[in-house]
Amino acid sequence: MTFLFTVSPDFAPDRLSGWYIFNTWLQKQTGTAIHLEMYNHYQQLHQAIEADKIDLIYANPYDAAMLVRNKGFLPLAKAQGQADEAIIAVNADSSVRDVADLQANSRVAFTDDPDVRLMGMIMLEPADLDAGNIVPVLADTHVLVAKHLLKGEADAGIILAEAYDNLSGVIRKQLRVLVRSQISVIHHALMVGPRLQAKRGEWRQVLLDMAADEKGRGVLAALGFDGWQTIDDEEMEFMIDLMDTLNT
């Protein structure tokens, strides 16, 4: 039997090959046939989850809740020391100096990345902004959110902090960050579905040992990770509860 592995569509585009390399490595280490399927949009991913096609997933924290609560997924590991954070940015020439200066009907650019949007909308609340009184400007990537700001097509943008930090200096100079989240407990998670649960302990060990192995380190580098770190069930439940409180 071949298992199906996927990665949340918010993966950094330059890590695409890294995920294929990781999948090859994982198959070798575990002696298991795994097919990696990358979906371009959350809608396609959610259809696959709904149809119970997925066995292994590097999941967005937003989806993790649904995967645990409704689909019987369990956490394996997270990327060491990494957390999902968001920033709110405006054009450097904008008169907006503080989130509180943003007015109702502001045009706000963001991607369909659900946890980043959630964190961003929370940081807009102090300005009395919510889904009902902003003009959404949906962008395909975080880079395009930045471009909307540069071209004056949006008044504010919600960007994954890591993506913002990886923008070129030229682009960043033309933007101003109003606020950066410092939540630190919201992160992606590698998770196994019901058909792989018997292998959970064994696979987790393989992941934890990865950074100690030279080949493994090369694969991690291709993903931009320092190593994997265990997520225990309670840590996962805590993150899900936290997402739940933010989700209103």
Partner: protein, 158 residues
């Protein structure tokens, strides 16, 4: 249960009052008019036992409350109770979460130094294996408009 507030901990001119909690216990509190602004981008997080005893706090909680982590863990959550908060708000909080639902509201909290800070709080039951094992509260920066409304409304509910 929790000790009275001490003048030497207070920063600035203060007033004094005695709070009577839901369980009948009392605490002398000293409070000032100094507001600490909510830190941008942060969440203030705590978890409690089913009885409302603090089990876990994050760094932002410690910084904003002015207490050390050691003083907070094991203390009842009313250690932050501000005299301007109406008891009805907390009655509603407890009734809501005990029904298994999510509670949301604007809360004025009392710092160890007598100052205060406003939060928008969301409290949910932590359900593990079908059982409520405690509660989690996550606070975020509130809108000034809503805070001003509550600052007017709350005194009329007391």
């Amino acid at each position: 249960m929790i000790s009275d507030m001490k003048p030497e901990d207070i920063v600035g001119d203060y007033r004094e009052t005695v709070l009577t909690f839901y369980d009948g216990t009392r605490r002398k509190v000293l409070y000032t008019e100094l507001e600490t602004p909510y830190p941008d981008g942060k969440l203030i997080v705590s978890t409690t036992t089913p009885e409302g005893v603090i089990r876990q706090v994050n760094r932002a909680f410690v910084e904003m409350s002015g207490y050390s982590e050691a003083e907070l863990i094991g203390a009842p959550h009313n250690i932050l109770r501000h005299p301007d908060m109406p008891a009805a708000a907390f009655k509603d909080l407890w009734e809501t979460v005990q029904r298994g639902e999510k509670w949301q509201g604007y809360v004025k909290n009392l710092r160890k130094d007598g100052g205060y800070y406003w939060v928008k709080a969301t409290v949910i039951p932590n359900v593990r294996g079908g059982k409520v094992v405690g509660y989690t509260s996550v606070r975020r920066k509130p809108s000034r408009t809503r805070v001003d409304e509550c600052a007017k409304l709350y005194p009329t509910l007391r």
